[in-house]
């Protein structure tokens, strides 16, 4: 029974929360806080929900430690699951991470460790980083490095096992531009090698009888990517903040992507409510070895039909509301917020077709409609500062 896999776990190892160390502004330790989040993703036949809990506490004057526990409870009857002939499946991924920040003068050193597991994918990542304030605290430079290892299984084939080794290199510069604005530039290189595809997905090729048949994908066993981003945040005179960002991405699989977004935060008079809104645009072209329908068997050395390597365009619109409160019965909690964020993500796949209900022989191969998905992302969380 083939299932949808690969992405969720692969990326668990990649860049989640404390695997990429949350960089503290150097000079002061990050604030002590606790956050409890309920998250839910629903769309494209998939529902993923679960908690994410973070606690951060300073220890003495120079150290801050944090720990995060995160769960994805997945129910999936996605397009990939359905087309492969499998039935809806349920599973759970559990992720734990810890980090330590050490503050010395204007430098903050961070070390963190993350591990995640589910029944056919285990990942662990070590990260280190340093962040330095300079030039009258107008400039912050940060460097980061992560090293990860994933172990991949196939629940339908106990004999299968794959591995991925991954390294991330990060450089960042944040610059105060004026009393009202700052800009942040970030650059990240990721190199990985090993089994970089999902054991459950397939590609398809056209048969001599002009129908199509599924066959295993063949991915390269290395991938190196570079991403460069710029983010600008500006204070508006009526006490609001506007934000814009852009990221360019390219990798050795031929994927090129542009990400652009804007955001707006507006505290309402009275000091209790804050509203926010955001829009994000994403566009990528397809990987060199992607095709929705290969012309014949073994047409290329590398062949993929993984929809995340297809050309696609995504729009995400988000709205958020936050309410600040005090807890008089717990004076050690300085303040708390209750937050609700709802986003709607709409993805149009430009080269990946929706084969559901259209088995081989029903329509000419390659004439199936292009696939698209809409997903609703809900976050309900409480934050406490102490």
């Amino acid at each position: 029974m083939a299932r949808l896999r690969g992405k969720l776990h692969r990326l668990a190892a990649g860049a989640l929360l404390l695997a990429a160390p949350a960089m503290a502004p150097a000079g002061v330790l990050p604030e002590d806080r606790a956050d409890i989040l309920y998250h839910r993703y629903s769309g494209g036949g998939i529902t993923v929900e679960g908690p994410s809990v973070l606690v951060r506490k300073s220890v003495g004057d120079s150290f801050s430690v944090s720990a995060n526990y995160y769960v994805d409870a997945i129910t999936s009857a996605s397009v990939d699951v359905v087309v492969s002939g499998a039935s809806e499946y349920k599973e759970e991924r559990e992720q734990k991470s810890v980090s330590v920040d050490y503050l010395r003068g204007k430098s903050t050193w961070t070390a963190s460790y993350m591990e995640s597991s589910e029944n056919d994918y285990d990942a662990s990542t070590w990260s280190v980083g340093v962040s330095q304030d300079m030039f009258g605290d107008l400039t912050t430079i940060s460097l980061g490095y992560s090293q990860g290892k994933d172990r991949i299984g196939d629940s339908t084939d106990p004999a299968f096992s794959g591995e991925v080794e991954r390294r991330n290199y990060r450089v960042g510069l944040t610059q105060i531009l004026s009393r009202n604005a700052l800009v942040s530039l970030n650059f990240e290189t990721v190199t990985e090698q090993g089994f970089l595809q999902s054991p459950y997905r397939s590609m398809r090729y056209r048969t001599i009888t002009d129908t199509w048949v599924l066959a295993p994908e063949v991915f390269p066993n290395t991938r190196t990517s570079n991403a460069a981003s710029v983010r600008l945040k500006h204070y508006l005179p009526w006490r609001a903040a506007a934000e814009g960002h852009y990221r360019f991405y390219g990798d050795t699989w031929g994927l090129r992507a542009h990400t652009a977004g804007i955001g707006y935060t507006h505290p309402l008079p009275g000091g209790k409510w804050t509203l926010s809104g955001s829009y994000r645009f994403y566009k990528q072209n397809s990987a060199d070895f992607f095709s929705d329908l290969f012309p014949y068997e073994d047409a290329q050395n590398f062949m993929a039909r993984d929809k995340e390597t297809s050309a696609l365009t995504g729009h995400t619109v988000g709205l958020g509301a936050s309410y600040e409160f005090q807890l008089p019965f717990a004076p050690w909690i300085k303040r708390g917020t209750a937050n609700l964020h709802i986003s709607r993500m709409m993805i149009d796949y430009k080269e990946f077709r929706d084969l559901r209900g259209l088995p081989p022989g029903t329509v000419p191969p390659g004439s199936e409609p292009l696939y698209s998905l809409d997903a609703t992302i809900t976050q309900l969380f409480f934050s406490f500062w102490f």
Binding site: I176, Y249, N339
Partner: protein, 70 residues
């Protein structure tokens, strides 16, 4: 330290440039709405969702800004 030295060498070579925002002028930058990443648990979760659905990854971080104290 190496980067700091390189940055200092670069600055020293240009002649003295004074920080154009003084430490006592940072009230807006210190405002909680100007924090680059105010809800780390939420932003990490969204980054995760985007990475799962898209091919691109990386360069989502950022540190700095704030009160510039100490």
């Amino acid at each position: 330290m190496l980067l700091a030295s390189l940055a200092a060498v670069a600055v020293a070579g240009c002649g003295p440039i004074e920080p154009w925002v003084k430490p006592y002028e940072r009230e807006r930058l210190a405002d909680p709405i100007m924090v680059l990443d105010p809800d780390p648990v939420s932003s990490a979760y969204l980054d995760h969702v985007y990475e799962v659905r898209e091919g691109a990854r990386g360069a989502t971080g950022g540190a700095g800004g704030g009160c510039g104290c100490n």
